[in-house]
Symmetry: C2
Subunit: 223 residues, 2 copies
DNA sequence: GTTTCTAGACTGAACATTCAGTCAAACATG
DNA sequence: CATGTTTGACTGAATGTTCAGTCTAGAAAC
């Protein structure tokens, strides 16, 4: 069995082709995401995902060895996509304050048409799973670390330009991300006391107060 | 019948007695809580609970018509117990600031021997369940409302005595509870960046800053 | 002696995963 | 070109397990 170079990267091109293995994989990941969002992690059956992707349960297992592997990979996929889309938008913004507003905004609102928005329901499941499954726990850990680091370096940058006052950047990042999480829970669960807009404004008011920049209270991108 | 709710802590015995129906119920609720905390809501089997309570699955179903009923009731039970124990401790504290410190403290630490401490893992499951099950959702909703209201009226009281400055109490309650939730997630999941102690201090620093009272940075009850 | 409580055995459905192949494309050989 | 050969993608039909909830019947309480 001399398996030479196991076709790791498929024929990328042939744009529009019927569907390479990689496309199938992604199709399944997206199907899994839909189902997880609708029914929840625990209630997601392989059969549901298969149906959504227009194939059979057997094929799903063929691609992902186990159900857990499918679900964790799906979550990682969604999160990476969301994070990258967000940071890409941030890169174009001139001031640190604007980038911070983007961070807060992307946590609560979906503005662009191709942006599925933050899937907080996914996070609720992720947290619950992380509590008991170390595999999932490490995924969560890395995401959170990256997220805090993003805020942290943003604060440092703002301080260097003089936009922000001298607070402890690490402490701020931690508190800020916790605040985003906490408010997001209420928003995700549809608590009548917390609309997405109110969450956004409270966060921005907090950040402006702590970092000492002025913020006019408007929503981002078209207040 | 006429079960007047109450009976938060059961008679540890009436030594030797076989156990009334109510005691059996509670025994099962506690067993359920243990199992949920260990294995998670979704992975909790009726058989596990029965074994833990030293009885048969059939009996569990006899007392609680369905599994969901058992689990939701168990969560409600734990939360009420924790909340009541906390508010009872608060009642004895002289200043609003001290009561606030108690609130923050009870969110992260378990100090008294009979206090099981905040079971945040339970909350992670609760949130995930609430997303999809309206029954659970309304339980969560009520708990959160009560919690925010507790903070809210505490702030008002502090403002009347002049301890606290003039912030919007409702906004503060919302942000504060979100912050507690957000930090609690990290603490519950054992994030190395957030110890319970650090969470406590960051919260208190935040509160002191917002409400304008001075706080020496010590831990509560024995700085 | 009727009602309440309890447990062991059981049922039926749901579901993840396996298996034994089928199908078609790519590749080779003559 | 015609013919085998390999391989990856894919499927329908099992398989086996796990459980929630039921049934029956016995023990206790009243």
């Amino acid at each position: 069995m001399s398996e030479q170079a196991g076709a790791v990267v498929p024929q990328a091109g042939t744009a529009g082709a019927a569907g390479t293995a990689d496309q199938r994989r992604e199709q399944m990941l997206r199907a899994a995401l839909e189902v997880i969002t609708e029914r929840g992690y625990a209630e997601t059956r392989i059969a549901d995902v298969a149906e959504r992707a227009g194939t059979s349960p057997a094929l799903v297992i063929y691609y992902f060895k186990t159900k857990d592997q499918l679900l964790t990979e799906a979550i990682r996929y969604a999160e990476d996509y969301w994070y990258e889309a967000g940071t890409r938008r941030m890169a174009d913004l001139p001031t640190a304050a604007a980038r911070l507003a983007e961070i807060v905004s992307m946590s609560f609102l979906a503005e662009e048409p191709d942006d599925p928005g933050p899937d907080w329901l996914l996070w609720l499941d992720l947290w619950a799973q992380a509590a008991r499954h170390s595999e999932v726990a490490s995924v969560r850990q890395k995401f959170d670390e990256r997220w805090r680091e993003t805020i942290h370096s943003l604060v440092l940058a703002g301080q260097e330009t003089g936009e922000f006052g001298p607070v402890d950047a690490a402490d701020f990042a931690l508190v800020m991300s916790a605040l985003l999480d906490g408010l997001a829970i209420q928003v995700a669960l549809g608590d009548p006391a917390v609309s997405a807009r109110r969450a956004f404004q409270l966060c921005m008011r907090f950040a402006a107060g702590q970092l000492g920049f002025s913020w006019d209270g408007s929503s981002p991108a078209g207040g």
